[in-house]
């Protein structure tokens, strides 16, 4: 009778072979170098809640047949949102929950990562490293009722021929550019959301809302569109006509 160890040999060999055939993930921690936006901050205090799904988000993606990427963007997107929001508002309060029990905030923003897609040059139609990032943004009132919800996406591309780094460097660079693009779109898209604009304009003092026109802020408060906070129903989005104020 063969010793027990000998019986195990085929299983060990099989396991080694299977491990050799399987796809081992490529770990990549991404950082961001987003510059400080050139903006006049809104004279408002907003809250921001970074939930567990944001703080713990590590993405896995099959960018090629033999590659599985495990991309850690936690530090990058935290830096990104902190930089963006601090340039957009006078004061930003980070909240432990998606509502503000004590902090005096106008609204609470909750960013949530949705997806990250990657393409390597050999699979990309443009022959470059490509990255797409997508986040869902929720705007809540101070008690946590949803005022608006939308998605914002960013795209980044890194030419494969222009640098000597490996795949990790190429993908990291493409993700950084995608974050940068997302930041720009968030700043401009934010001010174009009717619900967001109405809520924030309503929270501003009339003189402050009027002065936005010449301040360099991304937000414009249309005199007929401003609505007092609380006037819009969180569920229906309907507006109480009595609560409509003009900022003239």
């Amino acid at each position: 009778m063969l010793p027990r160890r000998v019986h195990k040999i085929p299983f060990v060999m099989f396991a080694v072979l299977m491990a050799g055939c399987s796809t081992s993930p490529v770990d990549l921690a991404v950082e961001t170098n987003i510059p400080a936006p050139v903006l006049a901050p809104l004279p408002l205090t907003v809250g921001v809640h970074y939930g567990d799904d944001f703080l713990q988000w590590v993405f896995e993606d099959e960018a090629g047949e033999d590659w599985v990427w495990r991309v850690d963007t936690r530090q990058a997107h935290l830096t990104l949102y902190r930089s963006l929001l601090q340039s957009m508002f006078d004061r930003v309060v980070e909240l432990p929950a998606p509502f503000a029990e004590q902090a005096d905030v106008t609204a609470v923003l909750v960013p949530q990562p949705v997806t990250l897609q990657l393409a390597l040059p050999e699979l990309s139609p443009v022959g470059a490293f490509e990255a797409w990032v997508r986040y869902r943004i929720r705007l809540l009132d101070p008690v946590g009722e949803v005022l608006d919800e939308w998605e914002v996406a960013g795209y980044g591309q890194q030419g494969s021929a222009e640098f000597g780094g490996g795949r990790k460097t190429g993908i990291a660079e493409a993700i950084d550019r995608a974050h940068r693009d997302l930041g720009a779109r968030l700043i401009f898209g934010f001010a174009e959301r009717d619900e967001v604009r109405n809520w924030l304009c309503g929270a501003l003092a009339p003189a402050a809302a009027e002065s936005l026109r010449d301040s360099g802020s991304a937000l414009r408060c249309d005199p007929v569109a401003a609505v007092t906070p609380g006037a819009a129903s969180a569920e229906t989005g309907e507006v109480d006509e009595d609560a409509v104020t003009t900022t003239d």
């Binding site: 006049a40 443009v126 795209y155 700043i187």
Partner: protein, 224 residues
């Protein structure tokens, strides 16, 4: 009897001439247009940016940086703002998804006092958009390399052709006009000859295109 060398100078010289001429690059300027562009004045700056393309092949940043540096070297009096410094300093207004698509867009941006103040600090006169890229378009030949306990080496010949096509559009921000544009094509064939050791004879298509683009931008902004 005196033995003749296997490879004489008579053999080498034509081969050398052939390969040296074969790897030259040709550049061609085309469709040069210039409107009433004023000459750049002392202290005014130029910035060279890549034209934004979303989900299409973008101009390489290293090419744009090369043009900026070549432009700066071409004339000490010409103040060139590095691309990275400009787009970072103007974030988020000159990103791929947000950059102005016309010179009127820059004028509109100047209505924003924060952006206007930042741009005024740069004293930017000309904004140059570059579009295009260099790609490998053709290849031929073959080379094999081997290694053994007795030694190793390569034998054969391979060649490939690179082609670059670029366009430049120049905006005069002081006059608020599209002041000029041109197209540039560059082409060159590189060779790799295996004579025990691989000998590369490279055609610098991208580098030559970079120098030529910079030359024509300098010519345009200096007033011809």
């Amino acid at each position: 009897m005196q033995s003749r060398p296997l490879i004489s100078c008579l053999h080498v010289a034509p081969a050398l001439v052939l390969v040296l001429t074969a790897c030259t690059t040709t550049t061609r300027i085309d469709n040069y247009q210039r409107s009433s562009m004023g000459a750049i004045e002392h202290g005014e700056a130029v910035v060279v940016l890549r034209e934004p393309h979303l989900a299409a092949r973008e101009t390489e940043n290293d090419f744009i940086d090369c043009v900026g540096k070549a432009l700066s070297r071409s004339d000490d009096a010409l103040r060139v703002i590095p691309r990275g410094e400009f787009v970072d300093g103007m974030y988020p207004y000159f990103e791929d998804g947000t950059a102005p698509v016309s010179v009127e867009g820059v004028s509109k941006l100047a209505e924003n006092p924060v952006a206007r103040e930042r741009m005024a600090g740069m004293n930017l006169r000309y904004l140059v958009w570059i579009d295009g890229f260099t790609a490998n378009v053709d290849g031929t030949g073959s080379m094999s390399c081997a290694i053994s306990p007795a030694g190793g080496g390569c034998l054969g010949w391979t060649a490939w052709t690179n082609e670059g096509a670029y366009t430049a559009e120049i905006w005069d921000l002081k006059l608020g006009i599209e002041a000029g544009s041109f197209e540039l094509d560059a082409r060159g064939t590189s060779h790799l000859i295996g004579l025990l050791v691989p000998i590369p004879l490279l055609a610098n298509v991208k580098g030559n295109a970079c120098s030529a683009v910079a030359h024509w931008i300098a010519f345009s902004v200096r007033g011809g």
